[in-house]
């Protein structure tokens, strides 16, 4: 689904964050990307989202070379990115409004896009209907992030990129949204890439885990985590062992 082929990227050419870096993500996989701050986690997501272009090498998503943001890729960010002047419902509609604005041109919206503003099923699925008329400033952090997720899912994405989505939430809210994310992923069709600095979150959500180092990153260090969907995984020895292993690898950096 995502093929990153020997890319080099740095905000300053002399200090590359990725150098000749390659990484593949198969359709339907759930990845967690973890690493110390400044390792390039968010940069990697921006590259996959098409918001940044590599200086060398290429990125292909769904077989197509990536040259600009792709309408079927959704991005969720830490501080939600909601419009303060729009209600929950209007925020959830924003992506659709952008698509309606351009029409089905195949660039900003898929070529087979049917005009709609219907976000009610997603508001209901994410428990937002009671707040649909409220503004972001009136909501809790968890509700805001649910709104951002509804906005992205309304676009029917096949790739969902999440950039530290739950970092500013309290623990119960965070766990609720982590469960929700896994459910949404299991419901099918989504390729999920979640960037986090929290070891536990990576171990819970990542079927596979990509470990990044202090730049430049040259090779993709991959840790398999096939058991993460088992019920009660959070309580198992395998989970604890994985967390310990990740911690050692991160501290060894």
């Amino acid at each position: 689904m995502i093929e990153i082929d020997s890319i080099t990227f740095g905000y300053q050419p002399a200090l590359p964050i990725f150098e000749n870096f390659s990484w593949q993500v198969q359709r339907g996989e759930a990845w967690a990307v973890i690493g110390p701050s400044g390792c390039g986690k968010s940069t990697l997501l921006s590259l996959i989202a098409g918001l940044l272009r590599p200086q060398q090498g290429s990125i292909r998503v769904d077989g197509q070379p990536l040259t600009r943001p792709r309408p079927q890729t959704g991005l969720i960010i830490q501080d939600y990115g909601l419009l303060p002047w729009a209600t929950v419902r209007e925020n959830a509609r924003l992506g659709l409004r952008v698509r309606n604005f351009y029409g089905p041109d195949g660039v900003h919206a898929p070529a087979d896009y049917q005009r709609t503003l219907d976000v009610e099923p997603w508001l209901e699925r994410l428990g937002l209907l009671p707040f649909a008329g409220q503004y972001p400033a009136q909501l809790s952090g968890g509700q805001r992030q649910r709104t951002a997720i509804a906005r992205t899912l309304a676009l029917n994405p096949d790739v969902m990129l999440m950039d530290e989505p739950f970092s500013s939430l309290d623990a119960p809210t965070r766990e609720g949204l982590q469960r929700l994310t896994l459910e949404l992923w299991q419901e099918g069709g989504l390729t999920l890439i979640l960037v986090t600095h929290a070891i536990e979150e990576a171990a819970l959500l990542g079927q596979k885990i990509l470990l990044l180092n202090q730049p430049p990153n040259r090779t993709a260090q991959i840790i398999e985590n096939p058991l993460n969907l088992q019920p009660g995984y959070r309580e198992t020895d395998a989970y604890r062992a994985l967390c310990r292993h990740l911690r050692e690898r991160l501290e060894g950096v």
Binding site: S46, G81, L82, P84, W85, G95, Y102, A148
Partner: protein, 252 residues
């Protein structure tokens, strides 16, 4: 603000005026009932409404001109750091200069017609809108822009869905803050070389004709103009920025 409270406040002020007029008992302070009757007569039979609309159209023209030039400039300054770095010292120096002192200068350059009066008020509104819209645009986090771009928005959609709605509250706040000054400066500007406008009307009746009730009627008309503009901006804010009104009421 409740309508009932506003009515009560108006009644209180009129009562206060009535009492003071009784105490002073001089032609230079006629009681409100006489002034209101004069206001009515001057509006119906005299030319007060003509002066009112002359003043109103000057303010309206300056306001529209200021919005359509200052808002785009403010958006640009708020989004492009280098542009702002270049212009912000200039704005910093010009912003606090009382624009009313430019009245004679503008009159010299642009003559005594409507244009000079419009330009003077425009100068006041321009800087106010420019600075507030700039700050509002600078507050749009790069992260917000990033997430809206990830939804597929190009430049046009970003403008339509982010920058345009983001600049409206700045414009309205600027207008709310400066509408009083604008009307005050309009008064000054209308003292010079014109025979149309409330400033002229007040000055003529007060200092030339010594028709004090008519002078006060002019003062009331000017107050109505200022209040009307203020209420219009307030109403627009309720209509266009309900989230601000709501947030203000929830935060106390």
């Amino acid at each position: 603000m409740k309508r009932r409270d506003l009515l009560l406040a108006s009644a209180g002020l009129l009562l206060f005026w009535q009492v003071i007029a009784k105490v002073v008992n001089q032609p230079i302070l006629p009681p409100p009932d006489r002034v209101l009757i004069t206001l009515w007569n001057e509006t119906i039979t005299g030319n007060l409404s003509g002066h009112f609309f002359a003043s109103l159209s000057r303010v309206a023209a300056s306001t529209l001109l200021a919005i359509f030039t200052a808002a785009p400039a403010g958006l640009a300054l708020g989004q492009f750091k280098r542009l702002n770095a270049f212009f912000s010292p200039i704005i910093y120096i010009l912003y606090p200069v009382p624009k009313v002192v430019f009245v004679p200068v503008v009159l010299l350059f642009l003559g005594i017609g409507d244009l000079s009066k419009i330009v003077v008020i425009y100068l006041i509104l321009f800087f106010q809108i420019l600075v507030l819209v700039r700050d509002q645009a600078a507050n749009l986090h790069p992260e917000l822009i990033r997430s809206v771009r990830s939804l597929g928005a190009g430049r046009l959609a970003l403008f339509r869905f982010v920058f345009l709605p983001a600049s409206i509250p700045g414009i309205l706040t600027a207008l709310r803050q400066s509408v009083g000054t604008a009307v005050a400066v309009l008064y000054i500007a209308e003292l010079f070389a014109t025979q149309q406008g409330l400033g002229y009307y007040i000055y003529l009746n007060g200092n030339t004709l010594f028709n004090y009730p008519a002078m006060y009627a002019g003062v009331i008309a000017m107050s109505i103009l200022g209040l009307g503009l203020y209420f219009t901006v307030d109403g627009l804010e309720r209509l266009l920025c309900p989230w601000q009104v709501k947030n203000r009421s929830t935060s106390g």
